[in-house]
Amino acid sequence: MSGLPTETDGGPALGRFADNLKRIPRRFLETMFRGGRPDSDRGRSNFVFQNVFLHLHSVRTHRWSLKWSTTWGLGMITLGSFLVTVVTGVLLMFYYKPYPDVAYQSIKDIHFVVPTGHFLRNIHRWAANIMVVGVLLHMARVFFTASYRKPREFNWVIGMLLLPVTLGLSFTGYLLPWDQLAYWAITIGANIAQSPREVTDALGITQQFDPGGLQKLILLGSDEVGEEALIRFYLLHVLILPLVLCFLVAVHFWRVRKDGGLARPADVDVRLPPPERRTFPVFTEAPAKTYSLAAVVKSRTPAVGNPPENTVPSMPHLFYAEAAVFMLTIFLCVLLSLFIDAPLKEIANPLVPENPAKAPWYFLGLQELVAHSAFMGGIGIPMITLLGLALIPYLDREKAGTGLWFGGSGGGRLVAMSAAYGLAAVLVVEAVAIRFGWLQQWWPGCPQLLIILLNPGTVLTVLYGIWSVWVVKRFDSTRAGALGLFACFMAGFIVLTVVGTWFRGPNWEFYWSPSQWPGH
């Protein structure tokens, strides 16, 4: 023993050991949450700053960001529903077996004998739907408040990547139950992936260059929807796409922080009403300190230098807001799940197509276009739309109206006008296509390339483009053009989705209501 150093401060070692043992819980908490109980503003700030999960937030939040009308909580709804799908999805994986026919039986088991399985599957389905709606509305919100502008251009692009990943997650989940709905939606989806063949066939180069065939082959792992396709969709659904989504979401949030929180109008301090009496403290002076990262970054961080600041501590103000929206999302999910079951049709039968075979609702607008040209409706127009959306921040470099709905007064009227025009255009084009048919009927044997170039989808796109150009000239503003175009596309998307969902019956014929559908 003589060689070992000894400490005698706290009495005999055995006594100190007993003392240490007693203090374990308190010390454990102290080491977990450094800085003590967050009972002061400083303490709370420190708590946010030190916590790996919370430090994504800024320590202080602008009062503008906390206004309900700024975001309507749409981003949080999306994130919340994603978290719900992750939790419920992982639980469902305990019982789900990704193999044809067995998959269907396992869903039936989940429905009938797995404890909470029926309810959890409903929640999973509803959360996925809410996530899709949330993503779309969140995008619309960011667009209509012009929040994509400098310095947030790239984050908007990330958002444009998150949109197809979200839809992809939902769509890959569609196949897993292995019912008729799933089987035929995926057959159609896989053939849409193959639809570039429509173009290569028309050009006569499919033999040499067949990107469509390759896409389908990689998606299905075969030439038909079978066990390979199921395992691939499963892998995409539970691993690849969630990983990609998490990665992109991390970048998305990181950029929100780095780009200075939510976009605000330049005169935000004038626009904000005085704080509630209970809201305390409100920070009004600009932080004076310029911190330069590792002393090599030269510019000042964007959050700095916009006096007066008008912020409140994130904890608790922002956290209450976030928690409230999160719980609201959960409430929506469980409430819907209680009353409306996730669909499950007959077991997949590769010999008898569903009639009508309908994709998930958010793709029914595209399916409406696909009913004229598979390539244009399924790949061409979605790509054009996504690309156009992604480029918006680089085309609209104006500054006025950032952070305000529709860019301030007058914008609302423009959006309403554009939506009306978009509505009229899509209704006229749809009515013509439904009542009189399209090129194929008017001119049997018309070249396929012409149909690809000239179909209801492309006609609509061009009509909307013309409107947008007219608006740019009329209001002498690129922002006005973007607003007009976006409103048009939204009107088009909604009308096509509604027609595809409620007014299409067997053989994709138009029916005023499902009661008119002929029997089988």
Partner: protein, 164 residues
């Protein structure tokens, strides 16, 4: 943005290096590292593309019912092909819609697709709807003993009839 700082005699460590020195070793190492990773990625990207199709054989033998009338389609159970017999001449038309792969249904006038309303004539030509091309004619040959051998995987030019 603040003003550009004036150039001073003593360079600040915040100033960018005026001229980058040639760093052959560094460039070569980085390039090679990127190249190697890229090559590995490219190689593994080949994995998802199947080398052989796992689907069941597309060739099958079938005996046509003797009462089959000319112009009347015969769809062997479990297959997506309609076989026609007119006297001795036999031909087979795929019942996979060329639009989005649904199974078309033989009807009086030819074939109807339930998914997006494509209609085809009895010889497979598109009559209406979004289908970009005619239904494929498939290879048929005599298998002896009144049976025919159909190859769903082999497309032949439209109008090819085989006598059995």
């Amino acid at each position: 943005m603040s003003q550009e700082p004036k150039p001073s005699a003593t360079p600040s460590r915040l100033d960018p290096e005026l001229t980058a020195r040639r760093d052959f070793l560094g460039t070569a190492a980085t390039t090679l590292a990127c190249g190697t990773c890229g090559f590995a990625l490219l190689g593994s990207a080949r994995l998802p593309k199947v080398a052989v199709l796992p689907s069941a054989s597309k060739k099958f033998k079938v005996v046509l019912p003797p009462s089959l009338l000319p112009g009347q389609p015969f769809v062997p159970p479990g297959r997506s092909v309609a076989i026609f017999k007119d006297g001795d001449s036999v031909h087979a038309i795929s019942t996979i819609c060329t639009h989005l792969g649904c199974v078309v249904k033989p009807v009086e006038s030819g074939f109807d697709c339930p998914c997006h309303g494509s209609r085809f004539a009895a010889n497979g030509d598109v009559v209406r709807g979004p289908a970009p091309k005619a239904l494929a004619w498939l290879s048929v040959s005599s298998a002896g003993g009144g049976a025919v051998l159909v190859d769903e995987g082999k497309v032949v030019p439209a109008g090819t009839k085989v006598s059995v």
